[in-house]
Symmetry: C2
Subunit: 255 residues, 2 copies
């Protein structure tokens, strides 16, 4: 019952931040969590788990990692689950306490800065793309949706557990960028065309900032940016989806 009320509580961002915990729902997310280096506090299982092809395997994996499992009724389980088909299993994981100070940047480094990205559906895609293009870290700045909400966790499970984004304030970022001689470039429709930038123009350590499509660069981002870069598009379209723009720019700017 304690795990049940904890899982329910963790549906709220404030509770996740206070406890430093998150919920991974569904068979695949729980499997990914158990394979990751993150700590697992406990798990809830409902009778429906038994009807999933990998249900028994998940139970064994939980037992093998010594994770306490509480069995609950289907209805109780559903009250703690956030996604539509939670498959009768969820696990409570510990949010990794990684900060900017823990990052060690190589001589040539790439960071992705998320400046108030609001749509959870884009977050997981952006994170996976950053890993695909060998970015050294993804930094979640103020105003960005919580990476540890159930929907992002479920869609980005493996990427999120192995490469958790680093939350930071602008002041923490300033310190880190100065200490590491890292330069910020920002995605901005009105910026220099990415098509005209050659690889030789790139600073050795580069942080690319991407923003909410509607709101654009925040004031905090704008006055820290060394160069704005944009992707020329047809006037028929207002803007590219932020995950698409970030993907094209990360592909071009990768080290």
């Amino acid at each position: 019952v304690k795990l049940l009320s904890l899982a329910r509580d963790l549906q709220r961002r404030k509770a996740r931040e206070r406890h430093g915990l998150f919920v991974a729902e569904g068979v695949r997310a729980v499997e990914e969590l158990l394979r990751s280096p993150l700590s697992v506090r406990g798990a809830l299982a409902a009778p429906s788990l038994a009807s999933h092809a990998r249900g028994a395997g998940v139970r064994e994996a939980l037992a093998a990692r010594g994770v306490p499992v509480t069995d609950v009724e289907e209805r109780e389980f559903d009250s703690a689950a956030d996604t539509e088909s939670p498959q009768g299993v969820l696990a409570i994981g510990v949010v990794p306490a990684r900060t900017l100070a823990d990052l060690t940047l190589p001589a040539t480094a790439r960071l992705l800065l998320l400046d108030g990205i609001q749509d959870p559906g884009n977050l997981g895609t952006i994170l996976r793309t950053a890993i695909a293009f060998d970015f050294d870290a993804v930094v979640a700045l103020p105003g960005t949706v919580d990476f540890w909400n159930a929907k992002v966790v479920r869609s980005a499970a493996g990427a999120l557990f192995h490469h958790p984004p680093v939350p930071a304030s602008w002041e923490e970022l300033d310190e880190m960028l100065e200490a590491t001689h890292t330069v910020i470039w920002a995605a901005d429709a009105g910026g220099d065309s990415i098509d005209t930038i050659s690889h030789g123009d790139l600073p050795p350590r580069l942080a690319l900032a991407v923003s909410n499509e509607g709101a654009g660069l925040s004031a905090e981002a704008r006055h820290r940016v060394a160069r704005a870069v944009g992707i020329p598009i047809s006037p028929e379209i207002d803007s590219l989806n932020v995950a698409i723009a970030a993907g094209i720019l990360m592909h071009r700017l990768r080290s």
Copy 2:
């Protein structure tokens, strides 16, 4: 009542295909539909429309275009709506009867071929990106999700109404490609790296095929492809999201 039962019926793909009609839900989608060249058969309104800031404006626009409006109870309206917050208005539009034979390709042309893309969330994004990069048409091949389902319509409204994708069989595509000397390249993780392909290597008329991330290229696509092109990624990630891969390739291959 007739419009109500028609709208309910149009929740099923088969009914949309039989009637050649689709449903646009919500204030923005209906506004976009009324601004587009597509024909509008009728509209349903519920009392909740009155509480939307642009509700009265939508009613006026419907009247100005001579669209018959049926007022229904909230509960009836909800039974015909597919999305979660339909905002008390939906309109029934006519699917444009555009075929490959209607396309006139310029000397340098770019087509995007959708080979069994399954996720509706990606479709709208891919369509918007194709328009942004001035692709001449998007062709929906067998196995691709219906562009006219309510979720895609709502997310891609403007793009979809002004640049409707063209449905085609592989045989229809063969004819058209042969007649227009258009060459198919396909996105494939194992293909030639897109980073090594220069603009001078591109055929004047090029159709880029993109497929379901999980399933990969269909057999039908595979034996028609002149060249496979891929985006090198870290081994830590299985594959890029299909909309991201399509975006990066369209940006590189645009004319």
